[in-house]
């Protein structure tokens, strides 16, 4: 039994009066890739953002490597916010890759990758650059370190963003639709990098509409629907027949994303 890298227990999240997550339970084993599928608005990004602590859950708990994220439960069912230093420590185990890349436009690729090493970890510039260059090489961009984001293609920008997350040696990588804003011919290079990371034993949670990727790389498939976790299991079980009607319906809308072979 492998240990759980991320444990989500009965997580609820509301924005004002609308409840977006309605009691999510999820366990992500260490070293595995979990793919999060679901129709638009089902709460995939919200769940991922809660795990990255970019959103605070309304109730429920999230544990990263067994450490509580953000809040500690007090005996009487209430919770208190943990000190900022604890939050930062737990959060530092997590890397996040966004749909919009979110590279800082005033820094080169290498600058983006090394920023936190220098500013947060207090590393020497030279030392940080060596790590940054190694990480860029890992995503196949060793010759692009001195380019600004505006001088890179979307696929290259996203790979820089992955290198930026990797530079801090996180235990868990979160991806929110990493290829959704890329031209179709550029998704491959990003998916390949992710495939390699998965093969190398990185723990990953990937929100994606790339059904083919999910079916081949995901060791666990989670299907979210209207804020609830509808299905959770290995791809053979989730995609195998008989199939849940909501999933079937969902897959049919993604025929061109590698779902054709499944449907």
């Amino acid at each position: 039994m492998t240990r759980s890298a991320v444990t989500v227990r009965d997580v609820h999240k509301s924005f004002g009066k609308t409840e977006v997550l309605k009691g999510i339970d999820l366990s992500v084993p260490q070293g595995s890739t979990t793919c999060l599928l679901g129709p638009s608005g089902s709460g995939k990004s919200t769940l991922l953002r809660c795990i990255a602590f970019l959103e605070e859950t309304t109730s429920g708990t999230i544990e990263i490597n067994g450490q509580p994220l953000g809040f500690a439960e007090t005996g009487d069912g209430k919770r208190t916010r943990l000190p900022q230093s604890d939050i930062r420590k737990v959060r530092s185990r997590i890397g996040m890759v966004f749909q919009q890349f979110n590279l800082w436009p005033h820094m080169t690729a290498l600058g983006n990758v090394t920023e936190a090493l220098v500013t947060v970890r207090g590393m020497k510039r030279k030392e940080a650059n060596a790590i940054g260059e190694a990480q860029l090489a890992r995503v196949g961009l060793d010759d692009r370190g001195h380019h600004y984001p505006s001088e890179l293609s979307g696929g290259q920008q996203q790979r820089v963003a992955i290198a930026r997350a990797l530079a801090l040696e996180p235990d868990i990588l979160l991806f929110d639709e990493p290829t959704s804003s890329l031209d179709p011919e550029l998704t491959g290079e990003v998916l390949n990098v992710m495939r390699e990371l998965a093969g190398g034993g990185m723990t990953m949670i990937v929100v994606t509409h790339e059904i083919g990727f999910a079916a081949s790389v995901g060791e666990k498939i989670v299907f979210l629907d209207e804020g609830k976790l509808l299905l959770d299991g290995p791809p053979s079980e989730i995609f195998g027949t008989p199939r849940h009607p909501r999933l079937q319906q969902f897959l049919e809308t993604y025929l061109d994303r590698g779902a054709a072979t499944l449907v």
């Binding site: 970019l54 919009q100 979110n102 590279l103 505006s150 979307g154 920008q157 801090l168 804003s181």
Partner: protein, 222 residues
């Protein structure tokens, strides 16, 4: 009657002294106002709500009234509340306060124009709020607001002429007076226009150089 600059050129040393007064008041007040304006925008963004509302009210008042009126109030009304200032300090203070209000709005819009994702990406790699402001927001904002800041500086260059009404010995006051004394008013005004035009062109030129140097950092398409 013909145009004759000779009468005016005879008084060139006085004119150059006035030119210098205009230039330094303009530069000092704008530099101060850029920093203060950034501070105001930052306090409004990160400070408590009451401070945001208070600063917003002050900014609205300053932007909603003519500079001329503010300057009158400061210079002639100041002594009633124990603030007696000589013309130059009063002019400098007035210019600084007035442009701070405008710069703060430029920076506020600049903050809002930075994609939230850039800040979230910084949070995710562990930067603190101060580090995010220093390392991400300020540099990104610089390239976003530079054109408006250059514009503002140019507008304020021309506003320095208003300081003449509280007898700051700047270009408009001095050259106007010389023109009257020498019976060469049109020549004086032409020369004055030339000076301002030169300064405006110069700041536009410097602004374009700065923009070109920053153009590499323009936002990446996604």
């Amino acid at each position: 009657m013909s145009i004759d600059f000779g009468l005016i050129f005879a008084r060139m040393p006085e004119i150059l002294a006035a030119f210098w007064v205009t230039v330094w008041i303009w530069i000092v007040s704008n530099v101060l106002a850029v920093f203060l304006g950034f501070g105001v925008a930052t306090l409004r963004r990160y400070g408590p709500l009451w401070l945001d509302l208070l600063l917003r009210l002050l900014v609205e008042i300053i932007r909603g009234t003519p500079f001329l009126v503010q300057l009158f109030l400061l210079y002639f009304g100041g002594p009633f509340i124990g603030l007696s200032l000589d013309p130059i300090p009063a002019g400098l203070l007035g210019m600084t306060v007035y442009s701070t209000a405008y710069y703060s709005e430029i920076f506020r819009a600049g903050y809002n124009a930075i994609p939230v994702g850039h800040i979230e990406a910084a949070e995710c790699v562990g930067l603190t709020r101060g580090q995010i402001i220093r390392r991400i927001l300020v540099p990104e904002m610089t390239m976003l607001v530079l054109p408006q800041c250059v514009n503002m500086a140019i507008l304020m260059m021309k506003e320095t002429a208003i300081l003449s009404i509280i007898t700051v010995p700047e270009l408009t006051l001095v050259v106007g007076a010389i023109g009257s004394q020498q019976y060469a008013f049109v020549e004086a005004m032409l020369l004055l226009a030339l000076f301002y035009w030169f300064l405006v062109e110069l700041s536009g030129f410097l602004g374009r150089i700065a923009e070109a140097r920053l153009s590499k950092f323009r936002f990446a398409h996604s």
